[in-house]
């Protein structure tokens, strides 16, 4: 009984520590974003009233936005609203920021998830093979692919991809999430068209959505793959040079057992961190990919808001992105527990 109580207290203490750490992280994130939003050379008042407004109109809107109050007061008001689940209204279109984010985030989630799946499915085995066959032509090719993925500007690669696969070959759909014939046909449930079309059991819309998402997702997948391949290769090389691998081989274990049963098993924790970080960066929204492919995701939403000085939208987007990182961190911690007995 005492043992159970101790375990419970341990879990409670861990939960409280995690919660406090999340709260401090989010508060810090908000503070930094808020301050940057106030000092950056973009004027939210001009964005609303326009270049030709009189000084009286300018001053009225300035006060209306609460910009005449001390920055700490403005920040405390904002925190209070956020704690009540209110990100405020967009300064430009006066729509609730939470509604806008609920509309754009699923588009990014869908794209990023498909991208990371491609990255993991292709990148992990490639990294392992590359490490096992170190110095072979497969290794050279894998390293070259990873290098290209690291160094090629995504803007250029995206445009080339569009030109070749959409413009010339016609294999995939063009910019946008759907052809216009299919817009507003299926009811919005999750905001992810692939999922919604499955729920609606509409194969035609699913196919069309897939034709539109496949190219940007492959592009993002390629960049993730480049990172994951490189890291997997590096982790595997470290393991393969360990003494326990030599012992396993001396014991007569098959190569498959040595590589996948021993070496790969020991890099899973590190790999989870790499994949989580990679996924998080895709969920932030790849702005350039979203612009080229006219993909209405959170990256282009926050960027447009930033350039238009719509700070409520920027802060709302930042909170969501911050939460994604926090959630993925927690998920990684949980997975560590599963894969690494030492962290249990």
């Amino acid at each position: 009984m005492e043992g159970q109580q101790l375990a419970f207290l341990k879990i409670l203490s861990k939960a409280i520590t995690t919660f406090i750490s999340i709260a401090i992280t989010m508060l810090g994130l908000l503070l930094v974003t808020f301050v940057i939003g106030r000092v950056m050379p973009i004027d939210p008042v001009l964005a609303i009233v326009g270049e030709r407004a009189s000084q009286a109109t300018y001053d009225a809107v300035y006060n209306e936005l609460g910009l005449d109050k001390p920055i700490l007061v403005q920040f405390s008001y904002y925190i209070w609203d956020v704690l009540h689940g209110d990100f405020g209204d967009s300064l430009l279109n006066a729509r609730p920021v939470s509604e806008d984010i609920a509309r754009v985030f699923p588009a990014t989630l869908e794209l990023a998830t498909l991208g990371i799946l491609l990255g993991v499915i292709l990148g992990t085995p490639l990294g392992v093979i590359s490490a096992v066959r170190q110095g072979s032509w497969i290794d050279q090719v894998a390293r070259f692919i990873a290098l290209v993925g690291y160094s090629m500007p995504i803007f250029w690669l995206g445009l080339m991809g569009l030109l070749i696969f959409y413009g010339i070959l016609g294999w995939v759909g063009g910019p946008g999430r759907l052809d216009i014939f299919f817009e507003d046909i299926i009811p919005v449930r999750t905001g992810m068209i692939l999922v919604d079309s499955i729920i609606a059991q509409n194969g035609v819309v699913f196919r069309n959505a897939l034709s539109h998402i496949i190219l940007p997702a492959s592009l993002l997948g390629y960049y993730s793959m480049a990172y994951i391949t490189r890291m997997t290769r590096s982790f595997m090389l470290e393991q393969l040079s360990s003494e326990y691998i030599l012992t396993a081989r001396i014991k007569g274990l098959s190569e498959r057992q040595v590589i996948w049963g021993h070496a790969f098993k020991n890099i899973r924790v590190q790999l989870i961190t790499v994949i989580a970080l990679s996924y998080a960066s895709l969920l932030e929204g790849s702005v350039l990919t979203e612009i080229i492919f006219s993909w209405p995701g959170i990256g282009s939403y926050v960027t447009t808001a930033l350039l238009s000085a719509d700070m409520n939208a920027v802060l709302g987007g930042t909170v969501v992105i911050g939460l994604i990182f926090v959630c993925l961190n927690i998920l990684s911690d949980l997975l560590y527990g599963i894969f690494d007995p030492r962290s249990k």
Partner: protein
Amino acid sequence: MINLYRVFYRCLLAASLAFASLTSFADTPDDTLVVALRIDDITTIDPAESFEFAGSDVSRNVYQKLVNFDPFDLDAGYQPEIAESWSVSADGRSITFTIRDGLVFSSGNPVTAEDVEFSLRRAVALEKTPSFILTQFGFSAENLDETIMQSENTVTITTDKRYATSFVLNCLTATIGGIVDKKTVMANEVNGDMGNAWLKTNSAGSGPYMLSSWKPNESVALTANPNFSGQIPAMSRVIIRHVQESASQRLLMERGDIDVARNLNSDDIKGLRDADGVRIIDELRGRLMYFALNQKHPELSKLKVRQAVKYLVDYKAMESSFLDGQYVIQQNFLPRTFLGAVDENPFTLDIEKAKGLLAEANVDQLEIEVGVREAQERIEIAQSLQNTFAQAGITLNITVGTGKQILGRYRSRDLDVYLGAWGPDYPDPHTNAGTFAYNPENSDAANATGLLAWRNSWDTGGLTEKTAAAVEESDRDKRAEMYAEIQANFRETSPFTIMFQRIEQAAVQDNVDNLFLGGATTAATYWTVTK
């Protein structure tokens, strides 16, 4: 190796088939117009608040006005639309509009004089950004009962003083003149907002289309208004898709997935000129590119210096190189096609003449700063000026910044030179005359930041009075002559160097006819389009 090649080709074939099975290509539907356009400037669809380019396009197709432009004949000026006719009182202050019978809103409610009175009063009372277009006539939230009045089938507006009738009517053709359905709007009123929140994302007009959806930064969908009193548009749906990149718009055009691409850069326009089934249309728009000298600067305030810099601009080289097809030379503050516009462009690059004028002004080796907002074409113009100014001994230091940085300094009279663009707010010459050549109080205390003449500390030397007189002249031809005279004086004496007027180039599929982008005076019309 042979096996490897075989595997490679099989993979390629499989990939081709898999991809090919994903897509089914067809032209856009016969009854649907698909437009690629940057629509991230739309903040609202409410005509009392909308003041952006893409929003004006939507409004033009959704709302009717008392008077409006005929897209087939923009030069004819305003024509009756909701107003069947109008009469002007003897003192020139009151205009009484007789409302046309038989017009119906998309809701099915008839268009009445009450709706007209409500719409105009609402636009003034809400005091949103474009409300100045109406309040400049003396309307205010406090005097609406006396200034905008309905009586049976007529609506009378009474201005604070006599204005040219053409000026008042031109202003009513602006987006803010859109007439909304009072019953529908007030049914959606929240906290006394006169339906403003609801009208941001919904429509209540009597135009050829109604708004079916607006997804910010994504798309606008218009559906033909089944109750439209005129000819039902051939395009029963108009989809305006936000496509940010010029290259993406071009690809969509080449694949036939869109009918119109409206934000193509000059390279993509050139590329599409030779494409099969695509043609390019050009229309002069109202935006002007100019630079201005701050008259607080001791050297720049000299008349000869103001004149000299107008000969230090390589207009032709810029027009034919990086501005190719996107801008045309225009050295007057009224865009071509406006009432009173003139076609006289006397300045060309003439370094020697400029040097002579600078010498007469005893100016040698001047160093000044030009402020430019971070837009590619403006920066390129500034660089060209830097080069030609240097040939006459003027060092031009370019400061590039955001709107807040540059406009903030311009509005507080802090820049030596400002290089930027200006577009008319409404299709009347006073919109530009009233800012370029009008400055009744030039002191810092006046703080008239909305006037370009004030921002440049320019006492207009009599042009303010002439501008005020022109806006009251009721004879249209005489009024046009007055603006021509003001512009002649302005060209020679003002610290403004007007350089170029914008041309909008759009690519359209060959089967698309009767698309009008709106010229310099109004916005795009989609209801006229046929395929």
